[in-house]
Amino acid sequence: MRWGVLPLVPALVSVAYGQELESSPFHADPASIGVGKASFRLRCSACHGIHAEGGRGPALNRGEFEAGETDLDIYRVIARGVPGTEMPAFGQRSTEENIWRIVSFLRTFEASADDIVEGDPARGEDIFWNRGGCGGCHRVGQRGGVFGPSLTRIGRSRSVAHLRESLLNPGGDLPPDYYVVRVVTRQGKTVRGIGLGFDDFSAQLMDAAGKFRSFLREEVQAIEREFVSLMPDTYGETLAEDEQRDLIAYMQTLRGEGGQR
C-alpha cells in the first residue's frame, strides 16, 4: 500500500489509511478525478470504451452500475473483478487510493435520457425469434444460433444508443474479435464466414452453415480479412420505429439471469 502526494485531501487519506472506506474521498477533488480519468483510459478503456461508453465491457457512462449503486460496490468490482466474466481484479495492480480515484471519475457521469427506451419487451421478444430472424444467428441462453455474438447478457453490457446503432448499422462498431474471412479457392469459388483464426500462413472460419473450415494460403488463390458485419443492415427499413423500440427493449432485458444463463 502506498500513499502518494495528495495535497487536496490529506486529512481524508490519513483517516482512510489501513481501513476500507465506504465512499471515495476524491469526489470533490478535480485533480484526483483527472488522475482517475487517466487511469480509467489506461486500464479500462480497452473494454469499457475511451469515454466509458462500453464495448466488450458494459457502458459505465450511464450513471448506473450493474454491480450495485454505492461507491464501495464499484470499488469492489474494480478491486476484485467479476468471477465468470472477462473483468479481472485490479486490486493487485493498483493502489487502493487510485481505485477510489477511478470510482470518483465514474461518478461524474449522470443517467442519460437517451438511455431510456419505451418499448414492449414481449413484442420485442416475438420479433427477435420470429419476424426479425435474429435468433437464427444470435443465441440467448441455450436457444438460438451461433453465427453471431451471443446476446445472453447484452442488456448488461450495452447502452440503448449502442443497441440502436448495432441494430441499424451493424458494421458501425464490430466486436473486437468479429471479422469476416473471405477465401477464394483455386477453383475460383469464394467461401466467406466468421473468422476463427487468421495468421500469416492459414485461416479458419465458420461458414453460413455453421461448418468449421480451415485453409492454407499456399493451397488457395487468396485469403483476406474483412472488417464488416454479416448481419443485414436493413432493419431500419424492414422494422417500423415502434418495432425497433420493442426489440431494443427486449434486448435490454437480456441480463444473463434465470434460464438465460
Binding site: R2, G4, D200
Partner: protein, 529 residues
C-alpha cells in the same frame, strides 16, 4: 528468499575448462562461432553470425534438438548466452536458468521474488544476461542488478539501481564494457527521472551515472519547463552498443513523461527520444541526437543502435543506424552525432519528412486531444524494441515494423508517485487492425529491398546468418527462416506460443544450432545427423 538449485558445471559434460570471458573475448565475439557472448552478439549489435552450415538450401530440413519448458508464465523475451557447452537463459519475473547445451536439461536455476507492490507498464520480462569472467549479470525487475556465479547460479552481489516504489523497474540486458556493467532503467510511464549506470563488475559499486534528464545547471535542463524535469522519464530499457576505438557507448532513450500530454513540459525535453554517445570511462556525454523533440506520441528511441561503416553519398562514414519508433529510419555519424539522413519506412502522418537539421517537419493538428487524434504510426511504432540485424553478407539492415494508425487521446493529469503518468491513452481504429512487416533496407540509403507482411504487429527480434538466412517469429507462434536476399519464406514451425525474442546461433558438437524462445519455452534446432 532466493532460490538457487545447482547441479554444478560437472554436469555439463565435463566441460570444466571454462575460458575466461574477458575484454579480448568480448571484442572478438563476432569471430567466436561456438559462443553467443552478449545481447547483440557483438559490440556493434549486428546479431549476425557467419555460420553457414544451415543455409538456404537445407534449412527446410532442420529439426528440434531439444526444447526446454521454463514453466514460468509471462513474456519470454531473452537473448540466451552460450559459452562452453552451457546456455544461460533469463525469464520473466526474476527467473533464470543454466542449460546443458547437449540435452537442454537444467544445470541450475535462479529466482528471486517480485515485490507485490511493484508497478510495471508492460509485464515483467527480462531480455538477457551479460557475461564477464566467470560471472553472469542480469537486472531484476525491481530495478536491481545482480551478479551470479556462472557455475552455480549463486548470488555474488546484488545492488539496487533505483527505488522501485517510485515507479522504477528494469528489463534490460546489461552490456559489459571493460571492467564495468552498463545498464539502463525503465519507469517513464510512472514519471520517473531516468539514467544510464555503470557498475564495477567485481564489487557492484557504481562507477558513473548519466541522468538522461538533466538537472538544474546541467546542459539541456533549460528544455524542460518549470520542474517538469523531475518527472521527465527518458527510460533506457534496451541495450546499447560500444565502439572501442572511439571509446563511446551508444544508448537510446525513451519518451518524456507524461507520454501523451506535452503541456506540463514545454520545450524539447532533452535527452528524451535521443541517441546518446557517452565516454565509456566517465559516462560524460560526447554528443546526442534527438529524434523526436517534445514527443507526445510515446516514440521511444531505445531500439538497437547498430554500428556500420559505410559510404553515404560518396563519403565513408563510421555510422550508427536506427529504425526509430517514430516511423523513420535514421543514419548518424557515430563519431560526431551528425545527422546523415532519415527515411520513412511505414505510414507516417504526423511529420512531412525529416528536415536537413534532423528535426521532424511537423504537420499541425496531430497532437493527442481529449476527443482523439488519428495518428500514424500507432503508439507502439513503427519499429519498437525488437532486436534488429545487420548482415555484412547481403549488406542489408533488417528490422520489423508495426504498421497502421491509432487514435491518441490526451488529457492532463496530476502526478502521483508510483502511479501511471501517461496523460491519457490510445485506442484502436475500428475495422483497421494494426499489422506488421519484416523489412530489409540498404543502410546507406534507407531504400527498401523487400518486405515480408505480417498479419499482426511484430513480436520477435531477428537473426541473420552466413547461410543467407534471416530468422524471425510471429505473434501467432510461427518461427520462420526467410531468404535474407529476397524475403522469401523457406521454412517455418508453429511453436504453439508467441515468439517474442530474437534467435541466436552457435556451433556445438560439430553442428550449427539455432535457438529461440517461443511461448514459455526455449527451442533449439539443428540439421539431422
Amino acid at each position: 528468499m532466493k532460490l538457487r538449485l545447482g547441479l554444478g558445471i560437472l554436469a555439463a559434460g565435463g566441460l570444466l575448462a571454462q575460458a575466461q570471458v574477458d575484454t579480448q573475448a568480448l571484442m572478438g565475439a563476432q569471430q567466436d562461432n561456438e559462443s553467443w557472448l552478449m545481447y547483440g552478439r557483438n559490440y556493434s549489435s549486428w546479431r549476425h553470425s557467419p555460420l553457414d552450415e544451415i543455409n538456404t538450401e537445407n534449412v527446410n530440413r532442420i529439426v528440434p534438438a531439444w526444447i526446454f519448458q521454463s514453466n514460468q508464465n509471462g513474456k519470454l523475451q531473452t537473448t540466451p548466452l552460450v559459452r562452453d557447452g552451457v546456455m544461460y537463459v533469463t525469464g520473466p519475473s526474476n527467473h533464470a536458468w543454466a542449460l546443458d547445451l547437449k540435452t537442454g536439461r537444467e544445470l541450475w536455476q535462479y529466482s528471486e521474488p517480485v515485490p507485490e507492490d511493484l508497478a510495471v507498464c508492460c509485464g515483467k520480462p527480462n531480455r538477457g544476461f551479460a557475461m564477464r569472467g566467470e560471472r553472469l549479470y542480469k537486472v531484476n525487475v525491481q530495478a536491481t542488478l545482480v551478479a551470479l556465479d556462472a557455475k552455480t547460479g549463486d548470488v555474488i552481489w546484488e545492488v539496487a539501481a533505483a527505488d522501485y516504489r517510485k515507479g522504477y523497474s528494469n528489463t534490460v540486458a546489461p552490456l559489459i564494457v571493460k571492467d564495468m556493467v552498463i545498464i539502463g532503467i525503465a519507469g517513464a510511464e510512472f514519471g520517473t527521472r531516468d539514467f544510464i549506470d555503470a557498475y564495477d563488475a567485481e564489487t557492484g559499486e557504481r562507477v558513473w551515472r548519466f541522468w538522461t534528464v538533466p538537472g538544474p545547471g546541467e546542459p539541456g535542463n533549460e528544455t524542460w519547463g518549470g520542474d517538469s524535469w523531475k518527472r521527465g522519464g527518458a527510460s533506457t530499457w534496451i541495450t546499447g552498443s560500444y565502439d572501442a576505438d572511439l571509446n563511446l557507448i551508444y544508448w537510446g532513450t525513451g519518451n518524456p513523461g507524461p507520454d501523451l500530454d506535452g503541456a506540463p513540459r514545454p520545450g524539447d525535453n532533452l535527452y528524451s527520444d535521443s541517441m546518446l554517445a557517452l565516454d565509456a570511462d566517465t559516462g560524460e556525454r560526447r554528443w546526442h541526437f534527438q529524434f523526436t523533440p517534445h514527443d507526445v506520441h510515446d516514440w521511444d528511441a531505445v531500439a538497437d543502435p547498430v554500428l556500420v561503416d559505410m559510404e553515404v553519398e560518396g563519403t565513408f562514414r563510421k555510422a550508427l543506424v536506427q529504425a526509430n519508433r517514430n516511423g523513420h529510419f535514421y543514419a548518424l555519424d557515430r563519431s560526431t552525432g551528425e545527422f546523415l539522413f532519415a527515411r520513412a519506412y511505414t505510414e507516417v502522418n504526423w511529420a512531412d519528412g525529416i528536415g536537413p537539421d534532423g528535426r521532424p517537419i511537423l504537420i499541425p493538428g496531430r497532437e493527442p486531444t481529449d476527443e482523439g487524434t488519428l495518428t500514424c504510426p500507432g503508439m507502439g511504432g513503427g519499429h519498437n524494441w525488437h532486436a534488429t540485424t545487420y548482415s555484412p553478407q547481403t549488406g542489408f539492415y533488417y528490422f520489423n515494423s508495426g504498421d497502421g494508425c491509432q487514435i491518441y487521446h490526451g488529457a492532463t493529469q496530476d502526478f502521483v508517485e508510483g502511479e501511471y503518468y501517461l496523460g491519457s491513452a490510445m485506442e484502436n481504429v475500428t475495422g483497421e487492425p494494426r499489422e506488421g512487416s519484416i523489412l530489409a533496407v540498404d543502410p546507406s540509403t534507407g531504400d527498401r529491398q523487400w518486405r515480408f507482411a505480417l498479419v499482426s504487429p511484430p513480436s520477435s527480434g531477428l537473426l541473420s546468418t552466413g547461410g543467407g538466412l534471416l530468422f524471425a517469429g510471429t505473434m501467432e507462434g510461427y518461427f520462420l527462416a526467410l531468404d535474407a536476399a529476397s524475403g522469401k519464406p523457406l521454412w517455418r514451425l508453429q511453436t504453439g506460443g508467441p515468439v517474442r525474442a530474437p534467435a541466436i546461433t552457435y556451433m556445438f558438437d560439430g553442428r550449427q544450432h539455432i535457438a529461440t524462445a517461443a511461448g514459455t519455452s526455449i527451442f533449439v534446432f539443428a540439421l539431422p545427423r
